[in-house]
Symmetry: C2
Subunit: 344 residues, 2 copies
Amino acid sequence: MPPPCASIGRVDGEFELIAALRRRMQAAGAADRSPRLILGSGDDAAVSVPGGATATSVDALVEGVHFRLPPFTPANVGHKALAVALSDLAAMGAQAGEAYVQLGVPESFGTEWLMELTDGLGALAAEQRVAIAGGDIVRAPVLILALTVVGHAEAAERLLSRAGARPGELLAVTGELGGAAAGLLLLERAELAQGLDPAMAERLRLRQLQPQPRLAAGQALAAAGATAMIDLSDGIAGDAGHLAAASSVAAVIEPERLPLQEGVGAVAKAAGRQALSLASGGGEDYELLVSLPEERLAEAREATAGAGLGLTVVGRVESGAGVAVSAGGESSGWTAGFDQLRPR
Amino acid sequence: MPPPCASIGRVDGEFELIAALRRRMQAAGAADRSPRLILGSGDDAAVSVPGGATATSVDALVEGVHFRLPPFTPANVGHKALAVALSDLAAMGAQAGEAYVQLGVPESFGTEWLMELTDGLGALAAEQRVAIAGGDIVRAPVLILALTVVGHAEAAERLLSRAGARPGELLAVTGELGGAAAGLLLLERAELAQGLDPAMAERLRLRQLQPQPRLAAGQALAAAGATAMIDLSDGIAGDAGHLAAASSVAAVIEPERLPLQEGVGAVAKAAGRQALSLASGGGEDYELLVSLPEERLAEAREATAGAGLGLTVVGRVESGAGVAVSAGGESSGWTAGFDQLRPR
């Protein structure tokens, strides 16, 4: 006999499905326990003994808004949902600990796709040593993944907010920019890849489909003396504005110094766009933007190199407010919502 | 110039909207800081210093699946989403600490409704002293609230899982059952309220629209010697099965002892249903089911009375597996998915 209240909204066979997904998650190498996690998925709540300080962040991906199937595969979606959430922990300099996964699943999204989604999420969890501590599955009109991630540090002072940047410091970014936006263009308009090196084009697509959270670099930068940090989810024009606002300073960016990923220029040209607009306003590169005193630059570079990433100085912190592009340089294509708030 | 990537999926004016919602949350009396919460909403992640042990749970409500607008008001939805999540912390005996709110919002859901939703969520957060530590707003095809709640205890041993019930113990429930299912019937079929005391009918509707998480009772029961606990979200027939499975025991329920909320019988009769089916299978009452040694019953009753709730013995724990209704009693209408797994 079915329960009388349709309002409970259970997915049919929810408990069996969750058990199957947990097994699949383990097969992907993801743990459901950790030294901190005493009681994991399956009870009313997960129980942990965090010690020190925790950083907690939430992030959601919604089908039709943040991704489409295709070009995203279910595994891409699982990977990206966790990656985007973990990127916020990277931006705090935290060590990733646990993730909680809330899934909204339409009836058209079959069990095999759920298993593939779990593979993608589980593989990244295993790689980043994130324990899947809990979750929930409900029926929804489109596929939705709402992630909560918890990171750890020995003490709260080890975690880096957006608020510590001081005038005179340098602004630097990890890795390379513009790849995620160029990858999205390639996914939406396949003809743009004509004449591009296929391997290079695929690297650009993967920046969009499977971004990598910069957890090791974030921890290394926090330890190396960075004073403020944010991840580049919206694009440096917007995200530098958030950092500047939180720190009550101005961010002055030199657009010609932005490290463009290989192929961004070619894709932009083929699409009739400017490379700088992809790198500054495209977003979703999930690199880290940091402020740091000039005397810590060498140490910081060594730290990110240890995490396999370059560190490029792209500007400086000044007193004032907002984001400005430095005068005199080449800034055609700079996509900035905060340009009008130039520092004095 | 709009960002090139539609895939980012920002709600227009997201940052201003979040700031407005934070102000509204504070006006409702909800804190965005606590002694444990060092850095709240607005950075990449919230930073806290938990100390002791934490209990973390996630829960989501989806429009059209878990609620409809109307009969739910936006404030009801905000209240219920937080209440349902906190109920899991109650079932651990945890003290509520922080909540993270992920909102998926359709374009048709205007800013004023979002403010009202925030009022409902904020009022319950203020009442239960839950700090709103973070959140996220994304565009979605229907209204979605995905909550993450964190509770605290001095040590992990103070938190109560589902797994500690032992044969010979009593099973007891807080408060009264069937009200949420009866309230749903009244909301769906207004004519059923004819002849009912209007105040009583309204109390039933509010059990559905604005459930109360039993946080104080949960902490009191954990301190009073309960050995296992679960909240009644699916209905006692199903939830007793989860407790029994986690504890590797059988739960034997005496249906005639279930404490029915006033009016449940009358609504069931008017709807051509059996009162027991609403109380056993209706779900969403969010009372607590506990196992405890008989010699702790008086202390446990005193504990829940201190939280304003009755505690009613409804059965016992036996060796075996599954849920059974005790032989000989009146069990017509018992809604059980696990009945066939009678203990040996």
